[in-house]
C-alpha cells in the first residue's frame, strides 16, 4: 500500500518552505509588533481554513458553522484567562469580589459550577480540544448516520451557529453576553499583553500551525485521505465498496472542528478577548470565503487565503473607512468568478507550469549530458 513515498511532492515542498520562510523569518524581521500581532490574528483563521480544506475541499462536506468550533475553543481559553484576571484583589470594587466582572453586573453572586474546572490550565487545554471535538461528533453522528449531507448539512451547521450565538448573548451572566469576555491579562501569571509576550505567542502559534499542517498533510496522504476524495466524487461507490461513509465524514468534520478550536484558543490569547461576534453565521461564512479565495483543495492555498483576505480587510478599512466593504466584496466576486479554484488554482495554472518548465529545461539539459555519456560508453 504505497501511496507516496515522500511526505511532500516538489511543489508542496516549495509551498512549505515559502510559508515557513515568510512566517518564521520574513514577517518577524520586517513587521513591528503591532502588525505582527495582527498577522497572529489572521493566522488564527488559517487554522479554520486548514480544517475546511480537509472537510470541504477533500471530504466535500461544506460546513457553514465553523465559527461554532472557533468560538468554543476561544471561549474555553477565555474562561481560563478571565478567571485568572478576576482575582479577588483585581475585582475588589465589585459587590462580590473574585468572580468575573460581567457576572457581578448581572447580579450573580457565586461562580457557576461549570466555570469551576477552568481554574486548571490542563483541564482548559483538554477542553479546547475535546469540547468542540465531542460537539462535532454529536452533530456529525446525528447527521451523517442518517445520510443528511450537502446543502441540508450546510443549513443545519448554520442553524447551530445561530443558536449558539443566541445562547451566548442571552445567558450574559454566565458568558459575558454581547460584550464578550474582555480584559484578559495573564496566563499562569505571565502577562500576555506586552510586546515581547505578543512575539512569543506569535511563534507559538506558527509552530502549532505547522504541526496542524503536518497532521492535515498526513491525513491527506494516507488511505484515509484517498477515501475522503473518493467519497466526495462518488459517495455511493465508496459505500458499495464496503466503507462506512458516515464514519469517514464524521472524522473529517471532527478534525476540522478541532483545528478551528485551536485557532479560537490562539485568538483569545493573541487578541486578549473573545466575543459572540466570532461565533455566528457571518464569521462562519467569512471563514468559508477565506478558504474559497485561497483554494479549498490546497492546504497552503487556504492558509494564504486566510492571511491575504484578512490583510486586505485591515488595509482596505484603514484606507477607505466608508467604502472598504464594497472593495472586499468586489475582491471576492472577482476571485471566485475568475479563478474558481482560488489563488492556489491561479498558481497551479499560471505560475507552476513556468517553474516546471524551468526545471524541465534544466533536467533535459542534464539528461542530454547523461545521454552523451551513455553514448560515449556503449560497452557498458
Amino acid at each position: 500500500m504505497i501511496i507516496n513515498s515522500r511526505f511532500f511532492n516538489r511543489s508542496e515542498l516549495m509551498g512549505f518552505i515559502a510559508l515557513a520562510a515568510v512566517l518564521f523569518v520574513i514577517l518577524p524581521l520586517t513587521l513591528d509588533v503591532f502588525r505582527l500581532n495582527l498577522v497572529a490574528k489572521y493566522l488564527t483563521y488559517a487554522f479554520v481554513a486548514l480544517g475546511l480544506v480537509l472537510c470541504w475541499g477533500y471530504g466535500g462536506i461544506l460546513s457553514l458553522g465553523q465559527g461554532v468550533f472557533f468560538g468554543l475553543g476561544g471561549y474555553c481559553m477565555a474562561m481560563f484567562l478571565k478567571l485568572e484576571a478576576s482575582s479577588v484583589e483585581n475585582t475588589k470594587i465589585q459587590s462580590t469580589p473574585g468572580i468575573p466582572d460581567f457576572m457581578d453586573w448581572n447580579q450573580i453572586t457565586s461562580l457557576p459550577l461549570f466555570w469551576q474546572p477552568f481554574h486548571s490550565l490542563t483541564f482548559t487545554i483538554l477542553a479546547i480540544i475535546l469540547v468542540p471535538g465531542l460537539f462535532a461528533l454529536i452533530i456529525g453522528t446525528a447527521m451523517f448516520k442518517r445520510r443528511v449531507g450537502g446543502t441540508y448539512f450546510a443549513i443545519i451547521t448554520q442553524a447551530v451557529a445561530a443558536i449558539l450565538t443566541i445562547l451566548i448573548v442571552g445567558q450574559q451572566g454566565y458568558t459575558g453576553g454581547i460584550n464578550g469576555m474582555t480584559d484578559l491579562r495573564t496566563l499562569k501569571g505571565w502577562d500576555i499583553r506586552p510586546d515581547h509576550a505578543k512575539v512569543i505567542l506569535y511563534f507559538v502559534e506558527v509552530v502549532l500551525l505547522f504541526a496542524c499542517i503536518g497532521i492535515a498533510q498526513f491525513i491527506r496522504l494516507t488511505k484515509l485521505g484517498r477515501i475522503l476524495v473518493a467519497m466526495r466524487e462518488q459517495e455511493d461507490r465508496v459505500r458499495f465498496s464496503g466503507y462506512s461513509v458516515a464514519n469517514f465524514k464524521i472524522f473529517a468534520f471532527c478534525m476540522a472542528a478541532i483545528f478551528a478550536a485551536i485557532g479560537g484558543a490562539m485568538f483569545a490569547l493573541n487578541v486578549g478577548f473573545m466575543s459572540p461576534s466570532f461565533v455566528g453565521i457571518v464569521p462562519s461564512i467569512e471563514m468559508v470565503i477565506y478558504t474559497a479565495v485561497g483554494g479549498r483543495m490546497s492546504i497552503f492555498g487556504a492558509i494564504w487565503g486566510a492571511i491575504l483576505v484578512n490583510f486586505a480587510k485591515t488595509s482596505l478599512s484603514e484606507s477607505f473607512p466608508q467604502l472598504w466593504l464594497f472593495g472586499l466584496g468586489a475582491l471576492f466576486i472577482a476571485v471566485v468568478l475568475a479563478f474558481p479554484n482560488g489563488l492556489s488554482g491561479l498558481w497551479a495554472d499560471y505560475v507552476q507550469p513556468r517553474i516546471d518548465r524551468l526545471f524541465a529545461s534544466r533536467k533535459s539539459k542534464a539528461g542530454w549530458k547523461d545521454n552523451s555519456v551513455a553514448d560515449g560508453a556503449p560497452a557498458e
Partner: protein
C-alpha cells in the same frame, strides 16, 4: 447650586465670549504672530505623540459600516464639526487638528484592533470614539495598556472609571433618577413596568431604576422584561402591560427594535397621551426611524434635545445642519460627541501639554461653556456634571422640553445603595 449662582457663572462667560469674539479678527490679521506664540513641540509633547509644530493628530473611531453605523454616524459628524470649528479658531496650542478616521465596523474586536493601530502606529494624541458599551469594553484595555485618551460620547451603565477615558455622556444615575423623581411627582406614579433590550446597559439601568422606585419613591415594579437585540415581537409584553396597567412604562429598548415596539404599542390601542411612558433610549435619531406619529406623547429622559432654547444651541444646530444637510437631526449622543474635541482642546490648553498623563490629571474641573446643552464640567471621576432633562415627543419628531433639573447633576458611576 441655586439659579442665581448659575447666572453668576454665566455672566463672566458671556463677557469672556464677547472678548474672544472681539479678538478673533485680530488673530486672522496676524497669523504669524499667533504662530509664534505656539509653544515648542518638545515642550508640549514629551511622549512621542503625533504632534508637529503645525499639526496635532487625533483619531476618530466609530462604526461607519454595519448595524451600528446608523447610530454612530451622528457622532462622527459632530466630532468632525467640532474639529473644523476648533481649527477655524486657530487650533490647539497653535496647532491645527488633523484626524485619522478608522472604522470599527460594528464589530468589537475590530474596535480594539483599530484603537491599537491609532495609538501604536499613528501615535494619536486622543481618540474620539466608541458608542456601544461592548466596543468601549473592548477598547478600554488597549487604552490603558498604551496610555491613550478616549472621549466616549454615549450615555451608559456606569460601573466604570478610568484614567484614560473621559465620559462625555451621562452614566445611569444621572440619566434615570431625576426623570423618575419627576414622573413620580408629576403623574403621581406608583407602579412601573420595565422593558429593555437584553444586554448590560438596560439591565444595569433597570437595576438602578428598580432600587430607586422601591427604596426612594416607595413605588412598585409590576413587571420587568427583556428582549434580545434586534427583536421585533413585543405583543406578549404589550398584553402584560394591558393586564397590569402600570402608571408608567419605563423602557430602554435600543436600536431597530424601537420601531416595532412603538408601532405595536400604538396598534394595541395604548395611547401615549394617556399612558405615561418614559424612555431613556429614544433620541431624535431613533424617532427618525420610529416616526413621530407613533411615539408622540412619550417622555424621554436625556441631557440634550435638539429643540433646547439657549444661545449655544442656537449656533450649534444651524452649524451642524450647514455642514451635514438640512434633514439631519441631532440626538443626545451626537451632542455629547461634539463635546469630546472641545473638552480635549480645553484640557490641553489648561495642561499646556499634549501628554496623556498631564491631560488625565488636568481634566477634573475643566469647564466648557459653549456646550449646546449648556454649561458642563468634568468631575474628578472623569464623567461630566450635566443637567437631566425630560422632553415630550412631538409629531414632527422633535422633543418639547418639559422639565430640567435646576442644578447640574453629579456623576456617580458607582452609586451606593443601587448596586
Amino acid at each position: 447650586m441655586s439659579d442665581q449662582e448659575t447666572k453668576g457663572l454665566l455672566s463672566p462667560l458671556r463677557r469672556k465670549l464677547l472678548m474672544g469674539m472681539a479678538a478673533l479678527p485680530a488673530i486672522t490679521m496676524l497669523p504669524k504672530a499667533s504662530f509664534a506664540q505656539a509653544p515648542a513641540t518638545s515642550a508640549v509633547n514629551t511622549t512621542g505623540l503625533a504632534v508637529t509644530d503645525t499639526e496635532v493628530t487625533v483619531g476618530i473611531l466609530h462604526s461607519a459600516t454595519g448595524t451600528m453605523a446608523i447610530s454612530e454616524t451622528g457622532s462622527i459628524e459632530a466630532e468632525k464639526l467640532a474639529i473644523e470649528q476648533i481649527n477655524a479658531m486657530g487650533g490647539v496650542l497653535g496647532r491645527k487638528i488633523k484626524f485619522i478616521q478608522e472604522d470599527g465596523a460594528s464589530d468589537w474586536p475590530t474596535f480594539a484592533e483599530k484603537a491599537k493601530k491609532l495609538l501604536v502606529n499613528d501615535k494619536v494624541a486622543a481618540i474620539m470614539g466608541c458608542w456601544t458599551s461592548a466596543s468601549r469594553k473592548a477598547v478600554l484595555p488597549v487604552m490603558e495598556q498604551y496610555n491613550g485618551m478616549l472621549y466616549y460620547p454615549t450615555f451608559y451603565e456606569g460601573l466604570e472609571q478610568s484614567k484614560n477615558v473621559i465620559y462625555t455622556g451621562q452614566e445611569a444615575t444621572q440619566q434615570i433618577l431625576a426623570g423618575l423623581n419627576w414622573i413620580a411627582k408629576e403623574k403621581g406614579a406608583k407602579s412601573f413596568f420595565f422593558i429593555g433590550s437584553d444586554y448590560i446597559w438596560p439591565r444595569t439601568s433597570n437595576k438602578i431604576a428598580r432600587k430607586h422606585v422601591e427604596n426612594v419613591l416607595k413605588g412598585k415594579v409590576v413587571g420587568e422584561e427583556y428582549y434580545a437585540l434586534g427583536s421585533t415581537q413585543f405583543n406578549s409584553v404589550i398584553n402584560k402591560i394591558k393586564l397590569t396597567k402600570p402608571d408608567v412604562i419605563f423602557t430602554d429598548v435600543v436600536g431597530g427594535s424601537n420601531v416595532a415596539f412603538y408601532k405595536q404599542l400604538k396598534a394595541a390601542g395604548i395611547d401615549l397621551s394617556k399612558q405615561a411612558l418614559l424612555t431613556i433610549s429614544v433620541t431624535e435619531d431613533e424617532i427618525d426611524g420610529i416616526g413621530g406619529e407613533n411615539i408622540a406623547g412619550a417622555y424621554a429622559c436625556m441631557k440634550y434635545f435638539q429643540s433646547l432654547d439657549n444661545p449655544n444651541n442656537k449656533t450649534f444646530v444651524p452649524a451642524f445642519k450647514k455642514m451635514w444637510g438640512e434633514k439631519t437631526v441631532i440626538g443626545d449622543v451626537t451632542q455629547a460627541a461634539y463635546l469630546g474635541p472641545w473638552l480635549w482642546k480645553l484640557t490641553v490648553e489648561k495642561a499646556g501639554s499634549f501628554d496623556v498623563d498631564k491631560i488625565a490629571a488636568a481634566s477634573p474641573g475643566v469647564e466648557f461653556k459653549g456646550a449646546p446643552e449648556g454649561y458642563v464640567r468634568i468631575h474628578e471621576n472623569h464623567h461630566l456634571w450635566s443637567k437631566t432633562r425630560v422632553g415630550r415627543a412631538k409629531l414632527d419628531g422633535q422633543f418639547e422640553l418639559i422639565f430640567e433639573t435646576a442644578d447640574l447633576v453629579e456623576p456617580d458611576p458607582f452609586p451606593k445603595g443601587y448596586q
